[in-house]
């Protein structure tokens, strides 16, 4: 079967390529209860009497000597360090409550959102983030009680103005980002849109070609467990872009390059 390569591997030499071919074969489709081996257990697995089994329908592989399973479906479970896109749903005392497309809502404390002193007797917090605002934020902590804390301290964190949101299966986010961001960068460049991908399965798209970019992201999600996807997407997208705007190509590329720096996508 066709499976994806690990996205954090640089693909250069033939030797490396062969190794990857090997890794590809070892990555297989598993379902709950499938026996993976007797070595160390990583995420997506459980152990009974020294044997490692899968907890999900997903792709199993050995990473750093551990068996892991990347699920092909499921809700977003917040992890520290993840960049997520969320919506402000409430403001309580000195905190914003943020819906992060997960069973657990997140909290953004004032001190992690705004630089300097804010006099709450004079200022209304909606001045910074209002109800319904969309933000890109980083998860700074998740405790055992599944209380999730967000931070806006990283420079890539910001409010997302306008544009539109697309929902994808959180487990498929790494596919949308691509190896070292290759997939999302390519879509941005060719469509001339700004794209921000949250690990929580929310993708924000803004630009003249929003429709095309959104459609492409959903195509990537749908075909996510196929090989050679980047090339395939590139080819089809180039055709579509040519049909759309045959003249203004140059401008678009320039604009896209600008956007590169703004976006805050994450890698697995």
């Amino acid at each position: 079967m066709h499976v994806f390569l690990r996205e954090n591997v640089r693909l250069i030499s033939m030797e490396e390529n062969q190794e990857l071919e090997q890794a590809k074969k070892e990555r297989r489709l598993v379902i709950p209860g499938d026996h993976l081996g007797d070595e160390q257990a990583g995420h997506g697995t459980y152990v009974v009497e020294g044997k490692v089994y899968s907890k999900y329908i997903g792709l199993a592989e050995v990473r750093n000597g551990k068996h892991i399973v990347i699920p092909l479906a499921g809700v977003y479970s917040p992890k520290r360090g993840d960049g997520v896109i969320g919506k402000i749903t409430d403001i309580i005392f000195q905190k914003w409550i943020v819906d992060i497309n997960s069973p657990y809502e997140a909290v953004l404390p004032l001190s992690d959102a705004v630089e300097g002193f804010v006099d709450l007797t004079k200022e209304d917090l909606t001045r910074y983030f209002d109800y319904g605002d969309i933000i890109f934020a980083e998860i700074s902590n998740v405790n055992r009680q599944k209380q999730v804390q967000l931070s806006m301290r990283s420079p890539k964190c910001r409010k997302l103005w306008g544009g539109r949101l697309i929902k994808v299966t959180p487990a498929k986010v790494p596919r949308i980002i691509g190896r070292q961001g290759s997939m999302v960068e390519m879509i941005k460049k060719l469509t001339g849109t700004q794209i921000v991908v949250g690990q929580n399965g929310i993708v924000w798209v803004r630009g003249d070609n929003e429709d095309l970019a959104a459609e492409t992201v959903l195509t990537v999600e749908r075909l996510s467990h196929k090989g050679g996807l980047t090339d395939y997407i590139k080819e089809t997208l180039e055709k579509k872009v040519a049909e759309l705007k045959p003249v203004k190509d140059e401008e678009k590329v320039e604009e896209a390059e600008e956007n590169l720096e703004e976006s805050g996508e994450e890698e697995l």
Binding site: M1, G33, Y46, I57, L72, S77, P103, K146
Partner: protein
């Protein structure tokens, strides 16, 4: 005296005594549900959908250290020859309850504390073994939804008709059925998670029926695993542009 539905050698529908009706299983059939599946035992058909893990409403039902599983077994009014009254009945409440207990042991509830996993089972066509059919559909839907699970639970029934012990009583046999025993099985742990029985049997017969039902479960287990794997392999070939 009318002709019996179970003769010496074969059953009225041509099956062997230890054979189930044809099984059909398909995961991922609905759009809005997080996970979904259809399961058929011959003409008995159930569809299951899963929502969650999600926030618990009402909040007081929430468990601090694990997810709660909620199951809702329903029968469509047109699923039986005589129209069945829509809405919950005592029967459906009890089946919802035993379905939950049958499935719960495989769910890794501690992975999603303070959430609920909601399973809805809709029986569209009823010709015996609806609870077994519903459990199988629910289990496939849960796996399809990406809910963490240790294994699949499989369900099948066996019983006694005209003195013969047979697997998966259905159709005309049902009206002559003396004993019916629905069973659910957790294969990896070799544990029975659902066990009910109606009808008069000797202790020896009860044990024999149980063993036959488990034999059926083991076979259906393979079919269910296959249906889950095929959902993704089929998508792959389709995607090869």
């Amino acid at each position: 005296m009318k002709e019996s539905k179970v003769k010496d050698e074969k059953r009225v529908d041509g099956r062997d005594f230890d054979e189930t009706r044809p099984i059909e299983a398909k995961a991922g059939i609905l759009h809005r549900a997080q996970g979904s599946a259809m399961f058929k035992f011959g003409s008995t058909m159930a569809i299951a959908g899963v929502f969650g893990p999600r926030k618990v409403f009402p909040k007081h039902k929430e468990k601090a250290e694990r997810a709660i599983l909620r199951t809702d077994y329903r029968m469509a009014p047109f699923s039986t020859k005589e129209r069945s009254r829509p809405g919950p009945s005592r029967r459906s409440t009890e089946i919802s309850f035993v379905t939950r207990n049958a499935i719960l042991p495989v769910i890794v509830t501690e992975d999603f504390p303070k959430t609920s996993i909601d399973v809805v089972v809709e029986v569209l066509q009823a010709d015996a073994s609806t609870r077994c059919c519903g459990i199988n559909a629910a289990v496939l839907a849960l796996a399809d939804a990406g809910v963490p699970m240790r294994d699949l639970v499989v369900s099948c029934s066996a019983g006694k008709v005209n003195g013969k012990i047979i697997l998966d009583i259905a159709g005309e046999e049902d009206t002559e059925g003396e004993v019916d025993m629905p069973v659910a099985w957790y294969p990896k742990r070799k544990e029975i998670t659902l066990l009910q029985m109606d009808g008069i049997v000797t202790p020896g017969e009860a044990k024999e029926i149980l063993h036959l039902a488990l034999k059926g479960c083991e076979r259906i287990y393979k079919d269910m695993q296959e249906s889950l794997r095929s959902k993704y392999t089929i998508e792959e070939s389709k995607g090869d542009v």
